[in-house]
Amino acid sequence: MTVKTAKTLEELGIQLDAEGFLVNPDDWTPEIAEIIAREEGIELTDRHWEVINFVRTYYEEHGEPPTLRAITKRGGIPTKELYQLFPKGPAKKVARIAGLGKPKGCI
């Protein structure tokens, strides 16, 4: 196994809410993104980071995480690819990895 001795969120003292989102979004660092991604079974590539950075910028501008449609329409990433990068529910997964709250999308 090639797994390095990566720290866990617990060791870093990072708290998650019941749905797995950061309790305190200010805790977020790229390292934490890597850890959460690994929990999801995702190894982050440059393309993943493009999405994460888009999502974080969107959040700064709008005060809430983007819906899937916002990522594809405004971020210019095809839906199909998003599902390959972040399988199953990409909007929620990206928001989690990017250290944001749950996207509203639906009530």
């Binding site: 449609r69 916002a70 839906t79 199909k80 599902y83 199953k88 529910g89 999308g105 639906c106 009530i107």
Partner: protein
């Protein structure tokens, strides 16, 4: 005279028009209502049309009959809103100035956005009950469906009345049982959500009910395309679901006019203040009903509560006072579960649907988050209430802000 212009004479626009003109502070104002079409549809009836519970005449009436005679009524398509000139431009070239604008243009389904959906099998083996024509065609399809797999699929959230697809599943179970065909009809509910509904508590309760009724749930299913010839749905992550009869709830988008006005988000919904209902970035444009981007249900009941809030604030607006943050996301839905029963849920931005009694604590008569016959009658009664009270702007005995009275908190939930 000052001018208030309402775009859209649907549930929100019509109710608001009738409520406003009765208010003393309305003196000195002129009302213009603009809508592209002349028929008002009772959309909750679209759910029951396919099962033969309602006939066409029950769900469609002329818009004009329901609007105040003092209002100027314009039947024309809104081309775009020009906030910089404080006016609305119509497709026929007319220009309508406003002092206050209310956007109530709702949302509609867009089957053309999903490849394969609205092609040669549309309204044959692929249906929807989210439009009047769709519901009528589906009634025919259900009557002749004798065996096979019925798949109900939500393309993408948000949708209006997020419980309606569930109700459709329950009613389909009841309908085929009634016809003695249930053992030959498989019912599958494929949803992009992680469970039956958007809120955890109600999702659990409704999930159990689906299981009891032998309705199979496929969760986190995000449809990419439909293959109308092979009769299957394909998701973005390459799962496939075969169907014999597909009932689709297509993508919902706000009015195209909102996009043309560059006032919408990626769904053409207007960014709206959660509590005052002002369009974000404007102090003379309000948004009511399904047209908002608010994280509240897109439902007639919500539109009604929003009208209450707007009317309350309008007086303050006229007096130059600050608007009160009155809207709390209050939502109230009857869920038809078939066999003459129903479930009632009541919730808002922050509070989950809870069990209890409604509207009177302890007395009801309607139990919350539990199946009962009274709730079913409540839903049927709503049809009468809608046409005769709600649209006409009569006050209903349900407050705009959600009440915790009658609700059982946490421990009581097992």
């Amino acid at each position: 005279m000052k001018r208030l212009v309402i775009l859209g004479a649907g549930t929100a626009g019509t109710t608001l028009a009738n409520r406003l003109v009765k208010r003393p502070e309305w003196d000195g104002w002129h009302l213009t209502v603009i809508d592209a079409t002349r028929e008002h549809y009772y959309q909750p009836g679209f759910l029951l049309l396919p099962f033969g519970v309602y006939r066409k005449e029950d769900v469609v009436r002329p818009k004009r009959y329901y609007l105040p005679t003092s209002a100027e009524l314009i039947f024309a398509e809104v081309e775009r809103i020009r906030p910089d000139h404080k006016r609305v431009e119509l497709a026929d070239g007319r220009k309508v100035p406003y002092d206050v604008l209310v956007i109530a243009t709702g949302t509609d389904v867009h089957p053309e956005e999903t490849p394969g959906l609205q092609e040669h099998e549309w309204l044959r083996s692929i249906h929807t009950f989210y439009t009047f024509d769709g519901a009528v065609a589906l009634a025919r399809a259900l009557r002749t469906f004798k065996e096979g797999r019925l798949v109900i699929n939500i393309v993408e959230m948000p949708i209006k009345c997020p419980v309606a697809p569930l109700e459709f599943a329950f009613l389909a179970d009841w309908y085929f049982t009634h016809r003695g065909l249930r053992d030959r009809v498989e019912i599958v509910y494929a949803t992009p959500l992680p469970g039956a509904f958007t809120r955890p508590k109600a999702s659990e309760m409704l999930g159990n009910l689906l299981a009891e009724r032998n309705i199979k749930v496929v969760s986190e299913f995000n449809v990419m395309e439909v293959d109308p010839d092979k009769r299957l749905l394909r998701s973005y992550d390459e799962q496939e679901i075969e169907y014999d009869l597909l009932v689709s709830i297509p993508l919902h988008l706000g009015a195209e006019a909102i996009a043309r006005s560059e006032m919408g988000d990626e769904y053409n919904f207007v960014p709206t203040d959660r509590h005052t209902l002002l369009a974000k970035g404007y102090d003379d444009i309000f948004v009511l009903g399904d047209a908002t981007d608010l994280p509240a249900s897109k439902a007639g009941s919500v539109a009604h509560f929003q009208v209450d809030v707007f009317v309350e604030n309008f007086r303050r607006y006229v007096d130059g006072l600050e608007l009160l943050p009155l809207f709390d996301g209050h939502s109230n839905c009857f869920i038809e579960t078939g066999y003459g029963k129903g479930v009632l849920i009541d919730f808002n931005y922050d509070v989950e649907p809870l069990p209890g009694m409604f509207p009177l604590p302890g007395v009801g008569p309607m139990p919350l988050l539990r199946e009962s016959r009274v709730n079913h009658w409540g839903k049927l009664l709503f049809h009468w209430v809608y046409w005769n009270m709600l649209l006409r702007g009569h006050e209903l005995p349900i407050p705009a802000r959600m009440s915790m009275a009658g609700k059982e908190i946490e421990e009581a939930v097992s």
